[in-house]
């Protein structure tokens, strides 16, 4: 079903499907369902958390996270050892994903954007993280999958505390 409230067509079924996928991804990260979270990614995936602004070049500049698929796997394996001290005990987390917007579609890929707020509780106290995520999703035989996620924290140009959970 397509409606046309604005000057663009919005496929509300697709919006709903994308939202449900983003909420599931957020919940799996919050609850530390590592294997299920990892299974959301495609083999060519990139998980990127830039530092120092919105438009830095991760091939030339430092990032907080710039994981290819192999490194996503390493990150998950490290969390599963029980010896990842920065996540032992695991942070208690809840995040709100909002302002979900379909930005473009390119072939089988859907590009969506959303804002988020995460509350992280650890012994050091409660840390509030906020920012914008851009997702590239692909329709596969298993349903939607994540090809890329770019997480731009609003304070990514300032000193940041340890961020060892899946953001």
């Amino acid at each position: 079903m397509t409606t046309s409230g604005l000057d663009v067509d919005v496929d509300v079924d697709l919006v709903h499907e994308v939202e449900q996928f983003l909420y599931r991804e957020a919940r799996l990260a919050d609850e530390g369902s590592f294997q299920e979270w990892e299974s959301l990614w495609t083999d060519d995936a990139v998980y990127w958390v830039p530092y120092g602004g919105d438009d830095v070049d991760p091939e030339r500049q430092m990032s907080i996270i710039y994981d290819n698929r192999a490194r996503i796997a390493t990150r998950i394996k490290q969390l599963q050892t029980g010896k990842r001290h920065a996540q032992e005990p695991r942070s208690r987390l809840r995040r709100i994903v909002a302002n979900v917007e379909l930005l473009t579609t390119e072939g089988d890929d859907i590009v969506a954007g959303a804002n988020f707020v995460v509350y992280e509780s650890r012994e050091r106290g409660v840390t509030q993280w906020a920012g914008r995520s851009e997702y590239r999703l692909r329709r596969t035989e298993h349903g939607l999958r994540l090809v890329a996620k770019k997480v731009t924290l609003v304070n990514n140009d300032r000193p940041l505390p340890t961020l060892a959970f899946l953001v």
Binding site: Y51, T81, A86, R124, P159
Partner: protein, 421 residues
């Protein structure tokens, strides 16, 4: 105005232990600012961060805000970021290119060498010429080694080369890994904040005892080979370079393995362009350079050369520190640079496979040291097997606390004012 407190340093710092209050007492921190951060040579930045005339970048010396600028003649200046009029910050962009800084409060303007160029409505000063007397304050002494810019707030004292002493040669070892003999710090700095005293970081950088425990999780899942460097059977040594500078010298272990680029976890075949250039520059000596690898040295008090990356330790309060980190880039070596950057991104910063866990330890240490007993932190590991190397420097086994004892010995001499600083 002096904030130095004559604490009983001899009673707080013993040969084999230090008192917990050294990490928590605000009076200790204030004294450190005066005796260390505002007096000795401190690392500030690298010339490659301001490559062009009129480039500038904001830096720090401990909590002090500093502008590192390059004037149009190419000379480097370190200026305090404070207007001579009513103390507003004159510069707030992290970096840029400008021949002048204009204070936003009342429009006073300074050259990038710190000279007062003008101030609006000058008749309000009744004809007094301010330009000759006022300007941005300059850090009194500035010098560099291979482009690494250091500064001292003391008008007089040892030269930078005297301050570095045995650590001077470490910079030669680092830059010779570039086919052009130069390091470039062009990848930007991640800033990682920890609720911990700065000395927790200083001591950890050359602590060879912790990696197998703090980093057990990443060693278990990634084929890094770092863990074995810090085992009981490692040929690596810990070293006191004097002046508070300390080292985990991994070369004995790399030489035993005799694998060019083994220090970087790769082989010569996988970086053919880099190896070719190194061989064409260094001839037969290239083999040894590529086996020995990059230094692991903590230059007192704030520059940690960590093989493929650099850390700068910035204290901002008695219990808060910012660690700035960037990937080392070797001039003329794009293939190894790409990998050094990506390995660095994986390892360090708030989400790094290594540094997130180190930082967790710093914060746990800070919470722990607040407990009332047993008051002391023990630093006696390997005292019975300290020995001198061929240069007369004290060394111990890879996991020994030679570096930590060396840091505290120097620290005590600075705080007591025994040595000219």
């Amino acid at each position: 105005m002096s904030s130095y407190t004559a604490l009983p340093w001899d009673e707080l710092i013993l040969a084999d232990r230090v008192h917990g209050s050294l990490y928590t007492d605000p009076a200790v921190y204030e004294s450190e600012l005066e005796r260390i951060w505002y007096r000795t040579w401190v690392y500030v930045g690298h010339v490659s961060e301001v490559p062009e005339p009129n480039d500038y970048v904001l830096k720090s010396i401990g909590p002090q805000p500093v502008i590192m600028s390059r004037d149009k003649q190419g000379q480097i200046h370190l200026l305090l970021n404070r207007c001579a009029h009513r103390a507003n910050l004159v510069c707030d962009a992290e970096r840029g290119n400008s021949s002048a800084f204009r204070c936003p409060y009342h429009g006073w303007t300074y050259s990038n060498a710190g000279k007062l160029l003008g101030y609006p409505f000058s008749s309000g000063y009744a004809g007094t010429e301010l330009k000759q007397h006022l300007g941005l304050a300059r850090v009194p002494r500035v010098d560099d080694v291979h482009g690494f810019v250091f500064a001292s707030f003391a008008q007089e004292g040892p030269t930078l080369r005297e301050h570095l002493g045995e650590a001077l040669e470490v910079f030669d070892r680092l830059v010779r890994l570039s086919p052009e003999g130069e390091v470039e710090l062009t990848a930007g700095w991640l800033k990682h904040q920890v609720k911990s005293n700065w000395k927790m970081l200083l001591e950890n950088e050359t602590d060879g005892y912790h990696p197998q425990f703090v980093h057990a999780s990443i060693f278990a899942v990634a084929d890094s080979g770092i863990g074995d460097l810090y085992g009981e059977r490692s040929a690596a040594v810990s070293r006191d370079l004097g002046g508070g500078h300390t080292e985990n010298d991994l070369r004995p272990e790399f030489r035993r393995r005799a694998q060019p680029l083994g220090w970087f976890g790769t082989t010569a075949e996988r970086l053919p362009d880099y190896v070719e250039r190194m061989r064409s520059v260094h001839g037969d000596a290239a083999e040894q350079i590529l086996i020995d690898g990059s230094p692991h040295v903590m230059v007192f008090p704030n520059l940690f050369i960590a093989e493929i990356q650099l850390f700068v330790i910035q204290p901002v309060a008695v219990d808060e520190t910012v660690q700035h980190v960037t990937a080392i880039q070797l001039k003329g070596a794009p293939d190894i640079n790409r990998r050094m950057l990506q390995q660095t991104i994986g390892s360090v910063g708030p989400a790094g496979f290594l540094l997130a866990d180190d930082s967790e330890m710093y914060e746990r240490n800070q919470r722990g040291v607040g407990a009332l007993a047993p008051e002391w932190l023990l630093l006696r590991r390997g005292m019975h097997r300290e020995r001198c190397d061929e240069n007369g420097l004290v060394v111990g086994d890879a996991t020994d606390e030679v570096p930590q004892r060396a840091i505290w010995r120097h620290y005590r001499s600075l705080m007591q004012g025994e040595v000219p600083v």
